[in-house]
């Protein structure tokens, strides 16, 4: 067991969004969370990453034996949590590669390892960029600056590949991607999975799950997981929509 979420309640601006969520994810497992707009999917992602605007009002989250909620956002990242943002922010003047190197070294330092050798780092980064079919010119540009929507998403997975997290939360990483880009992103995620990284996929559509086969699928509605199943649940949702499941849950 890598992460265990128990009875989680989260409020934003005093409005409760997550209302008693339970979820356990084992090492190397891929879980998909699906649900209608406003069900709390992104709130869950931001909360696990430690965004200060999301108030945890009740519940616990255990991550690799630590109390996750005690850690600040950067401490969580250094402990191995990675959030692939739905809307990656642009930071002008700060090059992508500079930020990555600083982030990687912050992790290494936290793990008691020496800073990475510059030559070694470049070799490593170029390899990962090639994997993500990311042109090397993106390495030296400002973080996400002037990137297209698809480029930003690929950049997120590229960063994930470099930082090698234990647990990756991918928030609507598939939105705005064409089929070729989707395959590249999925390929990147699958490689991480082989390296025992656990993944929480947040998505609207079943499409992504054709390329990243989840071990479990959960339906989130009104701040709670109302149904869990295997990958067939996603197909069922795709065929019937959410209404049926929501109605069944209410009944």
């Amino acid at each position: 067991m890598l992460i265990k979420i128990n009875n989680l309640h989260v409020s934003v601006n005093e409005t409760e969004i997550i209302k008693g969520l339970n979820l356990t994810i084992g090492e190397g497992e891929v879980h998909a969370i699906m649900g209608p707009n406003g069900s709390g999917k992104s709130t869950l992602a931001q909360t696990l990453a430690g965004h200060p605007n999301y108030d945890v009002t009740a519940g616990t989250v255990e991550f690799a034996g630590q109390n996750l909620l005690d850690l600040a956002a950067d401490e969580r990242a250094r402990a191995g949590i990675f959030l692939g943002f739905q809307y990656p922010v642009e930071i002008s003047g700060v090059s992508n590669i500079y930020m990555l190197k600083a982030a990687l070294n912050a992790r290494r330092k936290a793990a008691g390892k020496p800073e990475i050798d510059a030559v070694e780092f470049m070799r490593f980064v170029k390899e990962k960029a090639a994997l993500m079919k990311l042109d090397q010119k993106f390495l030296t540009r400002g973080v996400n600056e002037g990137f297209s929507g698809g480029e930003k998403k690929r950049n997120e997975i590229f960063q994930m590949a470099v930082l090698e997290p234990k647990f990756a939360i991918l928030d609507e990483t598939d939105s705005g991607l064409d089929i070729d880009a989707l395959k590249v992103v999925a390929n990147g995620v699958n490689q991480q999975r082989d390296d025992k990284c656990s993944v929480l996929l947040i998505t609207h559509y079943q499409r992504l799950l054709d390329y990243i086969q989840p071990d479990f699928v959960h339906v989130l509605a009104n701040g709670q997981i109302i149904r869990s199943g295997d990958k067939d649940l996603a197909l069922e949702l795709e065929a019937n929509g959410y209404d049926e499941i929501l109605a069944a849950a209410k009944a």
Partner: protein, 482 residues
């Protein structure tokens, strides 16, 4: 974010690193200013008559002037009779003949400042003219420069050895009537640097001056004159520090640059005068007049400044683009924290045809500081096809500081293109969160974003200065996250 408050307190209490006082004997004139003091300064320096006459003329004119009050600065009244106008480290002989003769304590001071004066200088390839209080202490690399025909020496030495150059150029870029502080400087300036690059010579190394105010109750009034003759090229660096003192000290310098045809002068400053404490006690009043005259066709003057210190900064390094096709540049980072005030910017005066200017200004305001960009772009009717591009960005850190932009554009030629852009913003929370999510601490994230904000300016600095400037920025802004 939640963890901020405690960090802020810890960091704000950090002390000024260069605030040591060097205990050496100095030869200081008692406070006060009248014609006799000026005669005394001139006599101590053994100046020719023309210098004394010029000083006295300047003094007479200064007495008719009043201090400028248009800047967005709150300046406590200055009593000019309380200031000592001359302070030199005392020595039995007239001055040191070589580094070995320099007071070891002085060398230690430079050591602490990290000035590459000794063998380090040789390795770094920097020739240093160090001005301590008001007097030039030593200049390294004289021999190598002399081979190239470059004159780089204390101003007072140039007055004795090259009076014809001084008489020809002094006050031709910044006349003594120019403004209140320039007039005062013209009357009482004690030393500074003089540079002459002969025709067609590319100065073989970066020239550098470090200024330090050490004695109490003294003002520092250095004067720098750089002449780049036809087709020559020089890069000049200036750094400065001062010890911590409770009272304000006045620094009123004048820098004149002359670029003849096809000549290029690059002038870089990292200003780190004592900024005062967190309650605004003490700190240097940095009232400086810097101007470059692009006299010749296709000449170029480029100013780069990183202004991190001083209680109050009043400074507008400017370019007079007289020669056809001449180029003026101004790259500036101004950081203010605690109760610091800065009113700084530039003037680009386009007179010649096809003249170009670029202004990049980055202001960062934190604590209770006020940071103002003030600039003038003036296009004369004669300046056909003149071009200016100005970009002024301000970053606010905390809700008690201010950032202001006052760009004046006066355009009298229909073929000119003048573009100005300015933005004011803070570091966005989502940018911080993004960096933190990747594992960076909040402070590292802020430093990274701030350095990114200043990147366009830092990359104009010579390498070793760029590193110093980045470190200085991080130190100046420590605890400013809010």
């Amino acid at each position: 974010m939640s963890s901020k408050q405690t960090d802020v307190k810890d960091l704000i209490e950090r002390k000024y690193e260069h605030g040591f006082i060097t205990d050496i004997e100095t030869d200081t004139v008692p406070p006060g200013l009248d014609e006799d003091v000026i005669r005394l300064i001139s006599r101590k320096k053994g100046e020719p008559q023309f210098m004394l006459d010029w000083r006295l003329k300047s003094f007479k004119h200064w007495q008719t002037m009043s201090k400028p009050n248009w800047a967005k600065l709150n300046i406590a009244p200055i009593n000019y009779q309380d200031i000592s106008y001359f302070s030199a480290p005392k020595r039995p002989e007239d001055g040191p003949q070589s580094l070995d003769e320099v007071d070891p304590k002085l060398l230690e001071t430079y050591e602490k400042l990290g000035i590459p004066l000794h063998e380090r200088a040789r390795l770094a390839g920097v020739a240093v003219d160090a001005v301590f209080d008001s007097v030039s202490v030593t200049t390294t690399f004289k021999g190598k420069l002399a081979e190239a025909g470059v004159i780089f020496c204390p101003f007072s030495e140039a007055v004795i050895n090259h009076p014809e150059l001084i008489e020809r150029y002094l006050g031709t870029v910044v006349p003594y009537r120019d403004n209140f502080f320039a007039a005062l400087n013209s009357a009482v300036f004690s030393d500074g640097s003089f540079v002459y690059i002969p025709k067609g010579v590319r100065c073989p190394m970066e020239l550098s001056t470090y200024f330090r105010i050490n004695a109490a109750n003294t003002g520092q009034f250095e004067r720098t004159l750089i002449i780049a003759d036809e087709g020559s090229h020089v890069s000049y660096l200036e750094g400065c520090t001062a010890p911590m003192r409770d009272e304000n000290q006045l620094h009123a310098a004048v820098v004149e640059l002359v670029a003849e045809q096809d000549a290029e002068i690059k002038y870089s400053t990292v200003q780190n005068w004592y900024p005062g404490d967190e309650e605004g006690r003490g700190g240097i009043y940095n009232f400086v007049t810097k101007r470059g005259d692009c006299r010749g066709d296709r000449s170029k003057v480029s100013w780069t400044q990183v202004e991190a210190g001083s209680a109050i900064t009043w400074k507008y390094p400017s370019c007079i683009l007289r020669g056809n096709g001449s180029i003026g540049e101004f790259y500036s980072v101004a950081v203010t924290n605690n109760l610091q005030q800065a009113d700084t910017g530039t003037k680009m005066v386009h007179i010649g045809k096809n003249t170009k200017s670029t202004i990049i200004s980055k202001g960062i305001s934190a604590g209770r500081a006020q940071n103002t960009y003030r600039g003038l772009v003036k296009i004369f009717p004669t300046a056909d096809n003149a071009r200016n591009y100005t970009q002024c960005d301000s970053l606010l850190m905390g809700n008690q500081c201010g950032a202001h932009t006052f760009p004046y554009m006066e355009i009298k030629n229909p073929n000119a293109v003048v573009e100005h852009e300015a933005t004011t913003s803070k570091i966005a929370d989502d940018q911080l969160f993004y960096c933190q999510q990747r594992g960076l601490s909040e402070e590292d994230a802020v430093n990274m974003i701030v350095n990114g904000f200043c990147k366009e300016v830092f990359r104009e600095l010579p390498m070793e200065f760029a590193v110093e400037a980045q470190a200085l920025m991080n130190v100046s802004l420590e605890g400013a996250v809010g």
